[in-house]
């Protein structure tokens, strides 16, 4: 499946400039310019990492700072006027917790639905002999490049009566074609012998999928669950569009309204101290709490995501 190495291989051999110097020894010291480059490269990467991390550090610093220092523009990396009152303020808002719980529910339900649909789809499509396979793959892949667009989707969801229900959040994005292709690529490489042996032992297709393939594909299943869970956890627009009751919002919409200054002013403005607008430390704390699960899971996420992407990249 991986055809990449073949091409550069032929290219290098054919390159006359390289081929014309066969006598040089194997040991080649780094040229001066290359050594200089390496130093520069190392420094550049450190700078890139710092720049990447800075917004996170800034948010953490603001979360623990008092509003006065933030408004004076004095908070960067280190909290000034250290306090945890902002956390108390945000966490004492029952709507915040309610929306946080909604996010958890939406994420769990949507991920479960997505996993069932994607697994079934990917497994069937991974069978190369399946007649009509390329048609079904085309049916899915086409949606990657062309979709109905915002308005027809909105009209449809409304017509189905999904407005202000969980279904508007968990159903419309249940299959990610990219995830589907990753999973399909994985199933295609699944041991054929094992499945055949299971078939001889009397298992049906369902049995093979449920008892053999899925248990032996834990890594890819975990990857897919994480892919979906992160995307549903982070999603906001679907909810923003189809839910108009505050108690149904996920926490991302809560945060969005906070950023837009549309809500929460009464409860928070006073408690946060001087500010009449929504204090930026309140925003920071909410951002921090919203993304906390992702940051806590990050070591796993990163490992599985990279693996999954690599798996998918081979084919997709």
């Amino acid at each position: 499946m991986v055809t990449i190495p073949a091409e550069p291989g032929t290219k290098v051999e054919q390159d006359p400039r390289l081929g014309s110097r066969p006598t040089q020894t194997i040991k080649i010291k780094d040229s001066k310019s290359y050594s200089a480059f390496r130093v520069f490269n190392g420094i550049a990467i450190i700078v890139i990492c710092l720049v990447t991390l800075y917004p996170f550090m800034n948010i953490i610093a603001q979360s623990f700072s008092s509003e006065g220092y933030i408004n004076a523009g004095q908070v960067n990396l280190i909290p000034r006027g250290f306090n945890v009152t902002t956390f108390e303020v945000v966490m004492s808002d029952s709507m915040f917790w309610r929306n946080y719980a909604n996010t958890v529910i939406y994420t769990v339900v949507a991920t479960a639905i997505a996993m069932v649909l994607t697994t079934c789809f990917a497994y069937a499509l991974s069978k190369r002999h399946l007649k009509g396979r390329s048609f079904f793959i085309g049916l899915a892949v086409f949606t990657m490049f062309f979709n109905g667009g915002l308005i027809p989707n909105y009209v449809l969801i409304n017509a189905m009566g999904f407005t202000n229900t969980i279904w508007a959040i968990v159903l419309p994005n249940a299959i990610s074609v990219f995830n589907l292709l990753v999973m399909k690529a994985f199933f295609e490489n699944f041991s054929q012998e094992l499945e055949e042996a299971a078939e001889i032992d009397g298992l049906t297709t369902y049995g093979i999928l449920w008892r053999i393939v899925i248990p032996l594909s834990k890594a890819v299943m975990a990857t897919m669950i994480l892919f979906y869970a992160v995307s549903f956890w982070n999603a906001w627009f679907q909810a923003f569009l189809y839910l108009d009751r505050r108690e149904l919002y996920p926490v991302t919409v809560y945060l969005r309204n906070l950023l837009a200054g549309a809500t929460g002013t009464e409860q928070m403005g006073g408690a946060a101290g001087e500010g009449t607008q929504i204090a930026s430390n309140v925003q920071s704390v909410t951002m921090l709490l919203t993304t906390l699960p992702i940051i806590c899971l990050y070591p796993f996420l990163q490992k599985y995501f990279v693996r999954g992407i690599m798996l998918g990249s081979v084919k997709a």
Partner: protein
């Protein structure tokens, strides 16, 4: 050689069946079909390749397809058909396909709408900037990572650079708004150099810079992954051979590394060109405000305001359809060009 004959013969029905696949496959040229036929050929056997036989032996596999296909039909293809309201009058409460034909009324309407042209050019400019900056940077960063010798440092640096990818767009927007606010970090830096602070998110001329910078921050690290994956598939023997031939590190990079990731580059370029019009709608929606509509308003946000906020569904659908069609044409042509040039295409 005779094996080829057998394969082609056995997969003739497969070819016909491929002709019914959705629209995007139509422009396919013959050689590709041939290739697919060859690929598929070895699995199929001669007389069993009928639907009757397939349904009989594989009906359980087909039942697995029912729910996912139903999902695609309802939530993907039905809205596509729903685009017909671009040509029909739709009122809230009427059927999702609208009430009555109005022909090109809404198309003419947006062609004469100056706001449409403003958001159209904003989209093109923002898309071009994003493509021009966010496409090459991951390649550069991947090559930089590749030149690091300490594996530990490399791992840590990669982990850090991936982090923004996992953040919700709402969080990213929140960070951008805070950093660019009057007392945010950027204005602090400007202030420390004696400059005059400014409210970036209220100045139209700054929106594009802010947007593209935040895109870079969010996507470049993660964008390296596919290139790093491609780099790991490069045969180490190639480097060895190049070294024996006297290539220094620069030449190795130029003659081994870059050709090794070229197929990845082309595929990603196609994808990027294809999604070029779909500039981060959600991000713009979160970042913009009426003060900076002049540069920040894009087609998608205009569709949102016209359709959802003002309930002109048909008009908004017409604009949305126009945008989606451009996107489709873009990706088809990018793919076609890539195939003509180097044979590395998406399909």
């Amino acid at each position: 050689m005779s094996a080829i004959g057998v394969t082609e013969g056995s997969s003739q029905p497969g070819l016909r069946e491929a002709g019914v696949v959705p629209e995007f496959k139509e422009p396919e040229t013959k050689p590709k079909k041939q290739r697919r036929a060859n690929r598929k050929g070895y699995a199929g056997t001669n007389n069993t390749n009928t639907w009757k036989h397939a349904l009989k032996t594989d009906w359980r596999l087909y039942t697995l397809l029912i729910l996912p296909v139903l999902f695609l039909l309802i939530f993907r293809y039905l809205p596509m058909a729903g685009n017909v309201i671009a040509f029909r009058r739709f009122r809230p409460g009427s059927s999702i396909f609208g009430d009555e034909w109005v022909g090109m009324h809404y198309i003419e309407m947006f062609i004469q709408d100056p706001t449409f042209w403003r958001v159209f050019w904003n989209t093109i400019i923002l898309g071009t900037l994003t493509l021009a900056i966010c496409f090459p940077l991951p390649i550069v960063l991947a090559l930089m990572f590749n030149e690091l010798r300490s594996n530990k440092f490399k791992r840590i640096a990669q982990s850090i650079s991936y982090l923004p990818h996992f953040m919700s767009i709402v969080i990213v927007a929140g960070m951008v708004l805070q950093l660019t606010s009057v007392n945010g970090t950027i204005n602090q830096v400007i202030g420390s150099f004696g400059g005059e602070g400014m409210p970036f998110m209220q100045l139209p001329e700054w929106f594009r810079t802010v947007y593209v910078t935040s895109e870079v921050w969010q996507t470049v690290g993660w964008g390296t992954i596919l290139y790093l994956a491609a780099l790991t598939t490069i045969d180490p023997q190639l480097y060895e051979a190049a070294r024996i031939d006297g290539a220094n590190r620069w030449k190795q990079m130029w003659h081994v590394t870059i050709p090794g990731i070229t197929p990845t580059m082309i595929v990603l370029l196609i994808l990027n060109v294809g999604t070029f019009m779909a500039v981060g709608f959600e991000k713009v929606l979160l970042l913009y405000n009426p003060l900076i509509y002049e540069t920040a308003d894009i087609i998608a946000t205009y569709v949102y305001r016209v359709g959802i906020t003002s309930s002109n569904f048909s008009y908004a659908a017409a604009i949305g359809l126009f945008e989606a069609l451009i996107g489709l044409v873009l990706i088809l042509s990018a793919n076609g060009i890539a195939r003509k040039l180097g044979g590395n295409s998406l399909w």
